[in-house]
Symmetry: C2
Subunit: 754 residues, 2 copies
């Protein structure tokens, strides 16, 4: 039966379900997505003039972005608060339990107690260590061994639960998630990576992993958690549910939210998202991210998980300005940070590659248990590794006051007048030297164990361990400098600014600078790093030391290897990520990169009116290309448009099922007008609707650096190559990534996905 032309047109005008969507592990076409969104927006705007209801809808559409941001901020802030509180409680559970109620953590338990003195806030009768509870005493070697055992057992239990939950329910919940989020934001599709199961399991296992005492942090995973929240909340709004590009704008904002709740640094979070994670970050998103980051930070603050009404994780207040000469040790810390960053990336990638290729990868649960056991066994005897890493960092950043009971603050206070607010440099007491030994051991241990920990099948962030390594190194150098200045204040370098009785060196500041340097070396963050650290201290005064260290660290690390840890992991996993920071500096032309190569068979093309359904179907089965150019004729090779394989398959299948008379001999037309068919022939299939009428083209003599620039800036999937107006070949994102890998002497087949 031949349908009349008008009804045929109607049939084809309504979109076939599935056309315009993407398969898993494929790259989206940013231009098409943004164009779709503009069409949608245009439609709403033009309708809004017709009726009041449409106007209300148009206004609510305009504000839905803000509402979504508000919801993301609230949800992420609440989750982060929950994670903080649970992790704190479970970390303390490894050491003991509160008799007033097992749900109190150590600090909270002793707050509620009346018998606590100010001096020893963390000792109260209600808090029982495990030895005390089981064998009734805290003294003697037996009690120590008891506590030791319980500590290791709890750690093993937590990490076993974490790895089992991840393996059983949500394999995507492991790791930091930042490399994958970077890839997703650049336009890749990984279904389920930001789903509700991942969110649930990642939240629970993150608490378990942090509490188990492994050398990992919660900052990277919090970014993943915030992105999951955003992705789930996007489903409430059609605007974001249906458009991959718009959803990625929201995810960019969510990345900012993640860092904002991790550090209580909303501005730093936005800059982190802009600098490190995002691919397409329009100014509108900047403003919205800032809003979401603020909402999240204030939600977290009203939950008040640290019990100090502070927004920030480590609140620091220094009293002494720094001297210009101190830039030398700060730059030394920068060099240390850069070296450590480069070493860590190499060692970690080598270890992860070994995990991927050898038997190690087959026993992830065992691996986690062994690492946890080693960590717990080594960590317990040293008080600086026994506590949680964030407490350690907090103590290292701290500027010693007179009342501080920490070992690091055991100075000889003989010559100090109690009244003065400013403490001069003093000789270190015995405890400080003990602490320095313990810190040195902790430094070596942290450096080694972090290499094997990052990348295991549990949620694991890298910020806190990196900060810890740097803070330890910085504090050690700081104490060294301080004592040097105290005992040798007559040396030329100290003369004039560090006379006896003056407070000239703050070891806490050195710890902070060292922490920034190490984090910078690993992640290669720049502005965002300095701003996050600035938001921790709140004083512009200390930006210059931080900046000096961060700059040195980045230069040193870049001189050894250009990639940050996230980029290295992206490459390790073969994700199709086109790095925006790296300049493409080789002098190749588009014709050297395009397919087909000179020896290959010619490019598979469709003609606009010369092929039948059968021809096209056999072309589809014979090739694996994800799209085909449409030309006027094989002879002229003049380009008309581009059709995606997926759309072609769906449309032909749909036509065969729903449209009468479509058989293999039906001719396919991509032209605007179908010429009248002879009455004996089957009805034609019009597919102009699925053809991209504006495919991107460049000439064969275009320099590849320009082509790469176009791909990055416009977010293309493919680009067609012409010579004097004739179609010659095609370049896809994968071709570019393979070419880049080849130039860098890497295996071009390491790029796995389209």
């Amino acid at each position: 039966m031949n349908l009349p032309l008008s009804s045929l047109m109607d049939l084809l005008d309504e979109p076939v379900p599935g056309v315009g969507t993407y398969e898993d592990f494929n790259t989206i076409d940013w231009v098409r997505e943004k164009s779709k969104d503009r069409d949608r927006h245009r439609e709403i705007t033009s309708k809004s003039k017709e009726s009041t209801w449409a106007l209300v809808k148009s206004v609510s559409d305009a504000f839905s972005g803000w509402l979504l941001m508000l919801l993301i901020g609230l949800m992420s802030g609440a989750l982060a608060g929950g994670i903080d509180i649970s992790a704190h409680w479970m970390t303390d559970l490894k050491e003991g339990v509160c008799l007033n109620g097992f749900w109190f953590n150590h600090e909270h338990c002793c707050w509620t107690s009346n018998e606590t003195t100010f001096q020893e806030r963390d000792k109260c009768p209600q808090w029982k260590s495990w030895a005390e509870l089981i064998i009734g005493t805290t003294e003697g070697p037996f009690a120590y061994i008891m506590n030791y055992l319980m500590y290791v057992c709890w750690a093993l239990l937590f990490s076993f639960l974490a790895v089992s939950l991840v393996r059983a329910f949500a394999p995507y919940a492991c790791g930091s998630g930042i490399p994958e989020i970077k890839t997703i934001l650049s336009g890749f599709i990984i279904r389920g990576y930001l789903g509700k199961w991942t969110l649930l399991i990642k939240t629970v296992t993150l608490v378990l992993a942090v509490s188990s005492g492994l050398s990992l942090g919660k900052e990277g995973p919090l970014v993943h958690v915030a992105c999951c929240c955003a992705n789930i909340l996007c489903h409430l709004f059609t605007k974001y549910r249906k458009n991959e590009a718009k959803r990625r704008e929201v995810l960019s904002a969510a990345a900012a939210v993640g860092v904002s709740v991790a550090f209580g640094a909303p501005i730093g979070g936005v800059l982190f998202s802009l600098e490190e994670v995002s691919y397409y970050f329009p100014l509108k998103t900047l403003w919205r991210s800032f809003f979401a980051a603020l909402v999240a930070a204030f939600t977290l603050r009203s939950i008040n998980p640290f019990g100090n009404s502070r927004l920030v994780l480590f609140y620091v207040e220094f009293h002494t300005p720094w001297h210009l000469l101190e830039l030398i040790p700060f730059i030394l810390l920068g060099i240390f940070g850069g070296l450590w960053g480069a070493f860590f990336i190499r060692a970690n990638i080598a270890w992860c590659r070994r995990r991927k290729t050898t038997w190690l990868g087959r026993y992830p649960v065992l691996e986690v248990l062994v690492v946890t056991a080693v960590t717990a066994v080594v960590a317990f005897p040293n008080s600086y590794t026994r506590t949680s890493t964030s407490e350690l960092i907090s103590e290292l950043f701290n500027d010693c006051g007179l009342l501080d009971s920490s070992k690091l603050c055991n100075y000889d206070n003989a010559n100090v007048t109690k009244s003065s607010n400013e403490l001069p440099d003093r000789p270190a007491g015995a405890d400080v030297y003990t602490a320095m030994w313990q810190l040195s051991l902790a430094l070596v241990f942290k450096m080694l164990i972090t290499v094997v920990t990052f990348g295991m099948k549990v949620p694991s962030g890298l910020f806190i361990p990196s900060l810890a390594v740097g803070a330890i190194a910085g504090r050690l150098l700081g104490i060294g400098m301080e004592q040097l200045a105290y005992y040798h204040h007559d040396w030329v370098i100290f003369r004039g600014w560090c006379s006896p009785g003056a407070d000239c060196i703050t070891p806490g500041l050195y710890a902070m600078v060292g922490a920034a340097a190490c984090l910078g070396g690993v992640t290669r963050m720049t502005v965002s790093l300095v701003v996050i650290m600035f938001e921790l201290t709140g004083g512009l005064e200390y930006i210059v030391p931080l900046m000096a260290a961060a700059m040195t660290s980045k230069w040193v690390a870049d001189a050894i290897g250009r990639e940050s840890i996230y980029e290295a992991h992206i490459r390790l996993n073969g994700y199709p990520f086109l790095e925006a920071k790296e300049e493409f500096s080789h002098k190749t032309l588009a014709m050297d990169v395009m397919r087909p190569r000179r020896s290959d068979p010619p490019l598979s093309v469709l003609t606009q009116d010369g092929m039948t359904v059968g021809d096209v179907e056999s072309l589809i089965t014979d090739t694996t290309y994800s799209g085909f150019p449409v030309v006027v004729s094989h002879e002229s090779q003049r380009l008309v448009g581009f059709v995606l394989r997926r759309d072609l398959i769906i449309s032909i299948d749909n036509a065969r099922q729903r449209q009468d008379g479509i058989v293999s001999a039906s001719r396919i037309f991509f032209t605007e007008y179908t010429p009248p068919q002879p009455p004996s022939s089957p009805p034609p299939l019009k597919l102009r609707g699925i053809m991209d009428l504006s495919p991107f083209t460049v000439t064969d003599l275009t320099a590849m650096d320009i082509v790469v620039d176009i791909f990055r800036k416009l977010g293309l999937r493919q680009c067609l190559i012409t010579h004097n107006g004739r179609l010659l070949g095609i370049i896809t994102k994968k071709d570019i990534l393979k070419h880049v890998a080849q130039i860098a002497n890497r295996d071009p087949d390491s790029i796995l996905f389209n």
Copy 2:
């Protein structure tokens, strides 16, 4: 004489001077400039392996960017310090002179005096008002008139000098400069706008204009000054001197430096540059701008122009947290700011258009003198307008302490215990009510006079007047709220958080929020505005009120008119600026915008081998197009490349002068190989070298929103339109701007430049 082919090739291989440069008032081609820089970089990198000297050169090339940033930071910081000090001194000179030395300003004069009490720091015998100096008394109406007269005379003298210097030496030195810098950064060329004369005159006249008491600030002009510094310093480095794109990266950083020194807010400055000014802002530039902004801020701080060792212009310290209910007045301030911003932009643009079109524009000196006279005459009797605007803002932001002698702090302190640090809300004294009257008058006056001041032929910034208007409105509302809460603390809205004796409302915070709202309404800044205000207070606590006000203000102002004051001025002057923030939302296709239109004569093209020198020369004289596509033949219309008019003229002139035998009958070849010529014919001219082999093309069915996106993101000058592989037409940036103007029902001929 026929040259042998090889020497002919040599002759053509060396670049003809002038090819690849731009004329004044033209748009650069970002793709070509960036490609040129990559070529240069590649050359240096490949040479660096050959010798040690080349390696040193390569390293110094890599670090030259950082060195340049350091120099810009130092120079801009020093200039800003000089401007601050001079303006401060000259502002005080209007009121009196120091007997210890005329070069001391009022504050400095009384510092050096021993007879100053703490209570009245600004009264000392060494500082003589003009009346005291001339007629020997400060009492009585005659002395008042004397001072009044001197005040007006000095103001007139300063403004006369400013406008005369600008007119005589550097007409580009007038205005704020931000609209022009935005246009330059987007790729436009205005020779001399950032030259040394402009720098010198702008620096001097800025001091004069600020000191004259006109309602203008130094913030915008400081951005211009920093950009001039950057442009001049660029000449020291070949890398930046010769490349328009690279130089614009440096200028983006300089814009950040300008705001950094204006407000002592380095992070805010970088975000301002990113959000408001820059067009192409790669991440590398972000980091470098931050470095330059820090260097400048610390240079300024070591000059210490405010005498308080503070980095910031208005240092504020509030003691009371805000209550959630206070968001209502904050949002009211946001609405006020938005309304004022929208009103100001309309009124100012209408006034500037009148200046452009009527007799007003012919007497700029007279205009400045009249406005100065009116300003001075009205300002003197009101103590809030007599002082400099930044002092006024500082006083309005201030949280009243017990010792403050300001009229705004004249509260009834009967019930206050002197010891407590926190001051409860108190009933206002009589002086506060006087101050409120004066402030109301000042508000109306500032609002009106700023409209006519901005855009006169003197350097004038808009930040400070906008902040002042908002701060006055905010302070008035704040005092109102405070008194309301004091006298009616039993009202439902105050109950629970504002009991008697509590310090619940801080009028200074209201002033700050109002200032942010007004600045936001005028400039439509978002993140950068909040961050700048945050850097002024240094506490995350007050970000939420600022954000609420800034958001409301932007929404209200955007609902009335989409353009910021800078964009409005860009449009008024007809600069070719393609707005990156505004979405292009019309459903036109490339074929609707391209030239030639249907009724026009066909596109002027060159053929790759069929034209003579004479043909091309007559085409050049007959048309005014800035470039011509090159096609295979007129029949096929298959595109080969694109040649710029300027390059074509230079090359032909050069060949006629330097190459023997080139006459009008010589054939021009754009092909790779020249076919052998018959011996009788003149030698051919090979011009493939000046042809762009990779011109951008899109199909005629491409939606205009995609085309606009490509233009913005890649920074194109023109794009060729094809249909099924045949060349059809061309779209230039000017065509797009004209099209946008047409859609918005504006005169498309208002776009003046190419």
